[in-house]
Symmetry: C2
Subunit: 224 residues, 2 copies
Amino acid sequence: MRNAFHEGLDHTSDQLVEMTRLAGSAIARATTALLDADLAVAESVIAADEQIDRIQRELDELALDMLARQQPVATDLRTIVTSMRMSADLERMGDLARHVAKVARRRYPDSAVPATLRATLLEMGQVAERIVAKAGSVIASRDVALAVQLEQDDDEMDRLHRQLFNQLLSGNWPYGMEAAVDITLVGRYYERFADHAVSVARRVVYLVTGEWHESYDPTAAHTP
Amino acid sequence: MRNAFHEGLDHTSDQLVEMTRLAGSAIARATTALLDADLAVAESVIAADEQIDRIQRELDELALDMLARQQPVATDLRTIVTSMRMSADLERMGDLARHVAKVARRRYPDSAVPATLRATLLEMGQVAERIVAKAGSVIASRDVALAVQLEQDDDEMDRLHRQLFNQLLSGNWPYGMEAAVDITLVGRYYERFADHAVSVARRVVYLVTGEWHESYDPTAAHTP
């Protein structure tokens, strides 16, 4: 029998999936804004972040309410606390998409991305979109095998991030310091976006298996 | 009368203060490693981060244990959940200090900091040290007036961060791209370090007053 408590847990799971959808849309559009120097798209990403923030606040209130009223223990308690952490990760991913959009806006009407780096940044955007979509599927399905795939996507993001730095440091950079600073920051934002998506997937694995991979540090920097 | 539950809360508060002490020591030594190109100090910062991570894990376990056994409501519940968020902020501050130390290590035996930027980065290190020390005092004293001071320190950090970028973008940068990338990342690490310290102080204010300043976004980027 379903009760109010399990309805609360189901609602939380649905809203976490919704957050992955919003974060995915945000990073996809931020990438477009960045590559096409599209101000309207950049502004829409910046404005839409409030929606993700609002869902996080609602989920936090719901979690506190469930903790206070239902006094859960064991798995239910772990699920609620872990959900709060997942929503914090997803909220941060929204921020990072917004940061990318802000770089696009700052450089408008110019593009922040030199032509030689467009392909790499396009790929970073695609990996970011893919990894957050998979994080949503992992939340919805609790599929541990799929969660492992996110690690590979994250490795791919790290590879692209290193490639971006190698291109920056290749000794031939005619685009000036401002572009170098922007690319450095944007690269970091994409890489952190993927880290948080992996963190979300790891938290689902933790809920399903009870195991947390200590050796893995989702907050580690992968800068050169 | 003190009971096991309130002893748990007191222990948590003490350990959060200890985390501010460790994060403060880490950022101070990371700044030294960076400015003096001191490899031994850099290595010690990188190794010591595990200590902060361990305290966070212990506090998380204690929090889950208190939630399950004591089934707290109202203020006690809010205190435990907020403490988990503070320890996450402080753990992240340790990571950021480690990231600074890793930049120092990567560039050894060279210094990652060109002579013209030493003064600015020294000041950023000092503000970081000061703001985390105040965060510790705020946790220990629950002094809301002191918490407001951290906002000013954060404004000072933002000013220094902008100054760093202005120096980078001044049109006269003879130090090469690698130094530019390092300085961009290091500037971001210090700025995020201060953001998380402000977040800790805000959470204490929230516990004391019940008010959260929505207008304030501790996770916002202050990049140019």
